[in-house]
Every structure is written in structure tokens, then in C-alpha cells.
């Protein structure tokens, strides 16, 4: 489904991503690990259209989407979460999730060239039955997604997101991504800053997604989770691929161990395991 070839991105002197190849097949669960600054998030940005690569290509479903605009990638069914959380603070939890469903609007966003925007404006003002029905269906679906997080989010669905706890904001991120009904779901450290119970809960949820056959690309520092869920792991350091393969193989790869020992912060993560 996703084919990345020779992707590279430099920031001034730093080469954040240096020629990464990556394939993700339909229904596969691939994780990306690597010490801080390895270039994982940058790789995500390049694949989701937020940043343009200096070299290399990205194909999604056989279509070349190298340097495509993020809107287009979203429309193709690619959804991502952000490492540091980018929920819409002044929007309610439910509205946050509904924004995720934006690409699924059909009746409200007629695919007419040139005059489409005007028509969309007019439809929003008139609100014909079809638009209303669609909105109702999306709302119901969004609530279903919120329900996946138990009663963490559902009771707070009408509260503005800025008032949520950190963990809850991460959950909203994921709920919003799910609302896109993504063909490929990309998550950047979904459990960052969560305590153990919360992490376990999140792991359950992600496992559930995998069980449903969701194609997933995950960046995660918590190796236990990576090992349990992944079909395949890509390890990066200094923008390069240092290992790739089944979780167990990557875990015991000397290059990976070396990279992690070289970085104090990840040494702790290893020790915590």
C-alpha cells in the first residue's frame, strides 16, 4: 500500500532523514523505533505532506504522492497523529473528531469544479435533507469512536479540548484520526506522557484496531508495546535505517543495541523494560 524509496530531508547541516526505504502492505502493522532525533517524526512529516523531501519518492496505493499537499493525502485515506498533540483547543471533543471525518463528507461537499466552493456554501446555508442526514450519520459514528475509549471521552464530548488532561488529548488525537476511516493510520508516540495504566489501555485499543485489520504505522519508544503489536519493525538512527525485520530480530540487532546505548535517554527506556 505504501512504498517509500530513498526519502531524504536535510535541515541546514543536519540530515534528519537520509535515504529511507519503507514498505507497508495492506493490513500490516509496522513500527518505527530509534533514539531521540533519529528522524522518525520527520519521516512522518514527509509522508503526510507536511514537509517536502529533498530526494526520494512516496507512493500510496500505486499513486505517486511525493511532496503532495496534506489535504490530498488525507483524501486518499492517510491519517496521522502528532507527537506533541495538535488537538483543536477551542473545539469541543466531538467537533475535533468530526473534523477528522471531513474527507468523508459527500453530500455537503459536492465535487463540482470551480463552483464547488460556492455550492458548498449554499448547501451549508440551505441544509437540505441529504446534508442533514449525512451530518447525523457522521455524528453517530463519531460518538461510536469516542465510545471506544470507554468513558474517558464520551462524557466530555461537548467540552472544549483545551480543558482535557494530557492523556485525554492524546486520545482525542487518535479518535480524530480514526474518524477519517483511514486506510493507513500513522501514530507518532501515542502513549507519550501516559502513565502505566493509561499506556496499557492504549495498547489494548491499538491491539483492537490491529485485530480489525487496520493498517498501522507506529512510532513508539515503549519497546514492549512495539514488540507485542508489530509485524515488522524499522529501526532508525541519524536518519538512516539501521535495522529492519521482525520485532525479535531487530531487538537483538547489535546496531540497534549500539544506537540505544549511545543515547542516554533511550538507555533508560531499555532499562525500564
Amino acid at each position: 500500500m505504501l512504498q517509500v524509496r530513498g526519502l531524504a530531508r536535510r535541515f541546514g547541516g543536519v540530515t534528519a532523514v537520509a535515504g529511507i526505504d519503507l514498505d507497508v502492505a495492506e493490513g500490516e502493522f509496522v513500527s518505527i523505533i530509534g533514539p531521540n532525533g533519529a528522524g522518525k517524526s520527520t519521516l512522518f512529516n514527509l509522508m503526510s505532506g507536511l514537509d517536502r523531501p529533498d530526494a526520494g519518492s512516496v507512493r500510496f496505493d500505486g499513486v505517486d504522492v511525493t511532496g503532495a499537499r496534506p489535504e490530498r493525502l488525507a483524501a486518499l485515506g492517510l491519517a496521522r497523529t502528532f507527537q506533541h498533540g495538535r488537538v483543536f483547543g477551542n473545539l469541543s471533543v466531538l467537533d475535533n473528531v468530526l473534523v477528522g471525518a471531513h474527507t468523508r463528507l459527500r453530500a455537503a461537499r459536492p465535487a463540482v469544479p470551480v463552483l464547488g466552493a460556492l455550492l458548498e456554501l449554499a448547501l451549508a446555508a440551505i441544509l437540505p435533507g441529504s446534508v442533514r442526514a449525512e451530518e447525523r450519520a457522521l455524528r453517530a459514528d463519531a460518538e461510536k469512536i469516542l465510545a471506544m475509549f470507554g468513558d474517558r471521552l464520551l462524557p466530555r464530548r461537548d467540552q472544549p479540548a483545551f480543558g482535557l488532561s494530557y492523556a485525554n488529548r492524546r486520545r482525542v488525537e487518535i479518535a480524530r484520526a480514526l474518524a477519517l476511516r483511514p486506510r493507513l493510520l500513522m501514530m507518532d508516540e501515542p502513549t507519550a506522557g501516559m502513565n502505566e495504566t493509561e499506556t496499557a489501555e492504549m495498547q489494548e485499543l491499538i491491539a483492537g484496531l490491529k485485530a480489525r485489520g487496520q493498517t498501522i504505522l507506529l512510532i513508539e519508544h515503549k519497546l514492549e508495546m512495539v514488540m507485542r503489536l508489530s509485524d515488522r519493525v524499522l529501526a532508525m538512527d541519524d536518519g538512516r535505517r539501521i535495522a529492519e525485520g521482525p520485532p525479535d530480530a531487530v531487538r537483538h540487532d547489535p546496531a540497534v543495541i549500539e544506537a540505544y546505548l549511545g543515547h542516554a535517554s533511550m538507555g533508560q527506556a531499555e532499562a525500564a523494560e
Binding site: 535541515f11 505532506g49 491519517a79 477551542n90 473545539l91 473534523v99 471531513h102 463528507l105
Partner: protein
């Protein structure tokens, strides 16, 4: 060859550019550290000129002492602005400090006017004027001093920033206030220092320029701010050496513009250059492309707030009361309210664009001008009946407004504000200079009154009802749009356009839709205003009205529909209510504004 005049134009461009550079350096310094466009900078410059004038006139000080007094006076003023006006707003929202500087500027200008009288004053050049022949013209000692102070202060600043501890702290703060604070930098002190330096520089600029023209008056601040901001923008926001380059380039552009097309085109050239730079090199000419913006935790653009939910019966009741008001015989009240409601049409449009979509437009009054001229010209030149012309003007404004703002759609934050400020100025200047179509400075006279189905609405009562109906209609429509997926998309763009785009919300398209809808309402408002006044010219809808509209929107609460109407009515009525205060009323207005920003930055009814 005709090299002679071009040398002169170049020299002249550099001379005026020098002055712009001096202004821009102070603005850039403050922006670099506080991430704030200081709209009070021009006022500080004016205060500096007046301190200089007072010390020369009353104390008979020689030049070095005069400058010293100005430096001390304006430095203290800068500290006061930071300490009293801005510090408390820190971390509230990015818009609050910007507005506060607008409020401060209003207060300072009024104070200068009250204390020193509005008359222009002569500010004698203490340097003695020796002139040197260059090409066909001359430059004087003062020109050289201004250039020296501009470049010298930039050099000193550079050394200060590079090689002193406080300078290091300033740079650290400029990079990241929070990180700097965590590293033990006293950011408050840094901000204060920066305001003191920048203000002292601004004040010195004011005296020197005042001496240069031998003419100072309390109204010189707006132009100074405007040109300073443009120059800074050309050099790159917050780029101190860039500001000098920006100032000089702006001066040269104006000078060559005059050379090619005549003096009434100079500002057109200045603002066209601004837009060009914003589109082609948004980080200024002297900076490389900035990388993807850092990820914010949540939207920080508008103040976080829970909007006040007004019970529907209350709103409905207010509308009924408003509709019944004309039955009491109070024409003055009605006229004031009509003015308020006409402003509300502008405020509704702006609250959508600035509040809901987060595109802080500083040139919104241009939409009124387009609407007014469109409807007026349709009536005068094509003989259209007014009731046809007004909606047509709304459509024309929607189309033209969206088209004009098109270059600004892909910009973010402050860039949008400055671009719209420039576009607004361009519209006014085109109206002024396109004499063939708009009758130029003469304005449109003899516009017919508003009409419905052939009946002229001449009484204040009927116009009031018409405008009230329009406001209610557009407000309802806007509320409906906000509750649809459009409202969601718009607000998502405001909160975090990167995240919104990642979820398929085509930011440019939705911004354009907001400008189109907003343009329609504002265009209709401008058209009706034109017909009620029977006369408009390019100053009827001036830049100050754009700023006023923004304060209305903030007062009501960004994006808040009822708030925008309330803000418009209150801010139209407030100066009327302060009439008893006569000379002091604009001062009172400015103070009320400052208090509001300080104690209720989310506005009366809260951000939606």
C-alpha cells in the same frame, strides 16, 4: 544619458529610507523578542519628538542634551508600556498584546494632543544645516546624522546582542520565551530592556525627523507606524539588520515610483512592494526560508474561553426591543444605533474572518469601500435602482474581496494582518487615483437614498429597520453556517491549520469561502452607508475604521456573532456617550479599551 535624475531619485530614496529604517529597527527588535508588532511605536516616536520640542523650547537644551532627554524619556515610556500595558497579557493569546499596543497608541496620541495642542509645531534643527552637493541635489548634515544613528544603533545592537550577557538573554528569549525562562533567564527584564531600547530609538527618530521637516504634530504616529511596519516586513519580521535594508528598499521603491508615475502613486508602490515581498519571500529579503513551524500543544492564537451562552429568548427579546425602538421618538438614538448596526455588518464579516477562521484582517474597511463604490457607481453611472444595486454591490465585494485577498490566503499569523493592512491601503489608493472610474478625490456625490421596491427610505426610522433586518438576517445565516461542517472547518483552521490540513481541510478554499461570505455582508453594509450618507470619498472608509472594527470584534469575543453586534453597537455608542467629556472622550475610549483587553481578553461574550 539621463543618469542625473536617477542619481537624485536614488539619493532621495535612501534619505527617506533612512527614516523608515530607523523606525523599522525598533519594531524589529520588539518583534524579535516579544513576537509582537508594536502598533504603539509610532506614538512613542511622536512622544519623542514632543519631548525634544519641549526641552528645546523651554529648557533651551543643546542637541546632545536634547537627545539624552529624549532617550531617557522614551526609554522610560517603553518600560512603562511593557510593564503596565503588556506584561500582564503574557501568554493569554497572541492577539491581546497586539490590540493592547493599538490601545496604548490611541491613549498616547490623545495625551500628546491634549498636552501640546493639535497644532503643528516647529522643531528647529539644532545641528545647523550644512549642505553637500550630490548629483543635482543636496544632502544636509541631518541626513547624515539620521543615517549614522540608524546604522550606528543597528551596529551597537548587534554587538550588544552578540557579546553581552543581557544580549545573550535577549537572543535566548527571542528564540523561545518559555525555554529561556526555564534556563533561568529573567524574561521580564529582557522584555523591559528591549522595549526601553526600542522606544528610545523610536523617540530619537521622532526628534530627528521632526527637526528634518521642522514640523511635528500629534498625528504623525500612524504613518510612522505604517511605514515602519512595512519596512520591517520587507527586511523580515524581527530581523534587525534586515530592517535597515527593508527601510532603504522601501524608500528607493517609493522614490522610483514617484519618478515613473508621479507622487500620488508613491504609497501604491510601497504597499505593492509589501504584498510582493509577502508573497514571494514571506520571511523578508534577508532570511532564508523558515522551516515547518513547531508543533503547538493546542491553538494559542485566541484566548481560551467558554463562550457565554445567551438564552435564545434573551436574544430574541433583544431583537424585538430593537425592532420596537423606533416607536419611541428618539432620532439621535436611532441614528447612533443605525451607525452601530452598519458597523455590525462589518464586524460580523470580520468576526467570521478574524475570529472564526483566525485571519486577523487589518484592512477590512476596504470591503465597505468596495461595496459603497460599487453600489454608488451602479446608481450614478448605470442608473440601477438602489434596491438592485445594493445586493449587486454585495456580490461584487464578495468576488473582488476574495480575489484581492487571494495572495494572503496562504499566509499565517502576523503576515496575514500586515498583508490585509497593505491590501486595504491599496484599495483606498486605487480609489483615489483611478479618477476615471471613481472620480478620485472628489468622491461620489448625490447618491440616491436607500429604497425598497421604488420607495425611498429617507427617515432615520426606516433606514434603521432596514439595517436591523439585514443584521439579523446575516447573523442568522452566519450562525447557520457556523453550526454546519463549515463552522467546524473554519475553526479548525484557526486553531491549527497544519492539523486541519492533515485532515483534509483545504485551508485556502475555506478561507476564501469565509472572505466571500464576509465580503458580501460588508459590501452590503458599505453600499447602504453610501446611500444613507449620499456622499462618499476614499476617506469615508479609512484605515482607522478597520482597526475600530477589529476592536469591536475582540470586544464581543472573537467569532462570536452576538458579540460582534454587541461590540459594534457599544463601540459606536461609547464615543457618543462620552460626549460630555468633550476633548477627553477619545482618551476615555482608549482607556476603556485597554482595561477590557487587560481584564477580559476573550471579549464580553467569549470566543466561540
Amino acid at each position: 544619458m539621463m543618469l542625473g535624475p536617477w542619481l537624485d531619485y536614488t539619493v532621495n530614496g535612501l534619505i527617506i529610507g533612512n527614516i523608515y529604517a530607523l523606525l523599522a529597527v525598533g519594531l524589529a527588535l520588539i518583534f524579535g523578542v516579544a513576537n509582537l508588532i508594536n502598533f504603539a511605536h509610532g506614538s512613542v516616536y511622536t512622544v519623542g519628538a514632543y519631548i525634544g520640542w519641549a526641552s528645546i523650547t523651554f529648557l533651551h537644551t543643546p542637541l546632545p542634551i536634547t537627545l539624552l532627554l529624549v532617550i531617557v524619556g522614551c526609554g522610560l515610556l517603553g518600560i512603562a508600556i511593557e510593564r503596565v500595558g503588556l506584561r500582564a497579557l503574557h501568554g493569554r493569546s497572541r492577539i491581546a498584546p497586539l490590540l493592547a499596543t493599538i490601545g496604548i497608541s490611541l491613549v498616547l496620541d490623545q495625551l500628546v494632543q491634549l498636552i501640546c495642542s493639535p497644532d503643528p509645531r516647529a522643531l528647529p534643527n539644532q545641528l545647523g544645516d550644512r549642505r553637500f552637493q550630490i548629483g543635482g541635489g543636496t544632502i544636509g548634515t541631518l541626513d547624515i546624522l539620521i543615517a549614522g544613528i540608524g546604522i550606528g544603533s543597528a551596529a551597537l545592537l548587534y554587538l550588544f546582542l552578540r557579546f553581552t550577557k543581557l544580549g545573550w538573554a535577549v537572543r535566548a528569549t527571542a528564540q523561545d520565551q518559555d525555554a529561556a525562562r526555564q534556563m533561568g533567564v529573567d524574561t521580564d527584564r529582557v522584555n523591559m530592556t528591549v522595549f526601553a531600547i526600542a522606544s528610545a530609538l523610536g523617540g530619537v527618530g521622532g526628534v530627528l525627523v521632526g527637526m528634518y521637516y521642522n514640523d511635528i504634530d500629534p498625528n504623525m504616529s500612524f504613518d510612522a507606524t505604517l511605514k515602519g511596519v512595512v519596512a520591517m516586513m520587507i527586511g523580515g519580521l524581527g530581523n534587525v539588520p534586515g530592517a535597515i535594508g527593508g527601510g532603504l528598499l522601501l524608500g528607493l521603491t517609493e522614490s522610483y515610483g514617484i519618478a515613473l508615475f508621479g507622487s500620488s502613486y508613491r504609497n501604491l508602490f510601497a504597499f505593492a512592494l509589501l504584498i510582493l515581498i509577502l508573497v514571494a519571500a514571506p520571511n523578508g529579503l534577508f532570511q532564508r526560508r523558515r522551516e515547518t513551524p513547531p508543533e503547538p500543544l493546542t491553538g494559542t492564537f485566541v484566548a481560551r474561553s467558554r463562550p457565554v451562552r445567551l438564552p435564545p429568548w434573551l436574544v430574541a427579546g433583544a431583537v424585538v426591543v430593537a425592532a420596537l425602538l423606533p416607536l419611541t421618538n428618539q432620532p439621535y438614538l436611532l441614528q447612533t444605533l443605525t451607525n452601530g448596526l452598519l458597523s455590525a455588518l462589518l464586524a460580523l464579516s470580520l468576526t467570521l474572518v478574524a475570529g472564526t477562521v483566525g485571519q486577523i484582517s487589518l484592512g477590512h474597511a476596504a470591503l465597505l469601500a468596495i461595496g459603497g463604490y460599487a453600489s454608488g457607481l451602479l446608481a450614478l453611472d448605470l442608473g440601477w435602482p438602489v434596491d438592485l444595486g445594493v445586493p449587486a454591490a454585495g456580490l461584487i465585494t464578495a468576488a473582488l474581496g476574495t480575489l484581492l485577498v487571494y495572495p494572503a490566503l496562504r499566509m499565517r499569523g502576523h503576515y496575514v494582518s500586515i498583508a490585509t493592512l497593505g491590501i486595504g491601503q491599496i484599495v483606498a489608493l486605487v480609489i483615489l487615483n483611478w479618477t476615471g472610474l471613481t472620480r478620485g478625490a472628489m468622491g461620489l456625490t448625490g447618491l440616491p437614498p436607500p429604497e425598497i421596491g421604488g420607495f425611498d427610505l429617507t427617515s432615520v426610522r426606516s433606514v434603521y429597520w432596514l439595517v436591523l433586518a439585514l443584521v439579523v438576517g446575516i447573523a442568522l445565516l452566519q450562525a447557520r453556517l457556523l453550526s454546519s461542517h463549515l463552522g467546524r472547518a473554519w475553526r479548525a483552521i484557526r486553531e491549527d491549520d497544519v492539523a486541519a490540513r492533515s485532515y483534509g481541510v483545504d485551508a485556502n478554499r475555506y478561507k476564501a469561502m469565509a472572505f466571500a461570505f464576509g465580503g458580501f455582508g460588508a459590501g452590503v453594509g458599505g453600499a447602504i452607508t453610501a446611500h444613507v450618507y449620499s456622499y462618499i470619498d476614499y476617506q469615508t472608509f479609512s484605515a482607522t475604521l478597520s482597526i475600530l472594527a477589529l476592536t469591536m470584534v475582540i470586544l464581543g469575543g472573537l467569532g462570536n456573532i452576538v458579540g460582534a453586534i454587541l461590540g459594534a453597537v457599544v463601540l459606536t455608542a461609547l464615543p457618543e456617550m462620552f460626549r460630555f467629556a468633550a476633548d477627553y472622550r477619545m482618551l476615555a475610549y482608549g482607556l476603556v479599551l485597554l482595561l477590557l483587553i487587560r481584564y477580559r481578553p476573550q471579549g464580553l461574550l467569549g470566543t466561540v
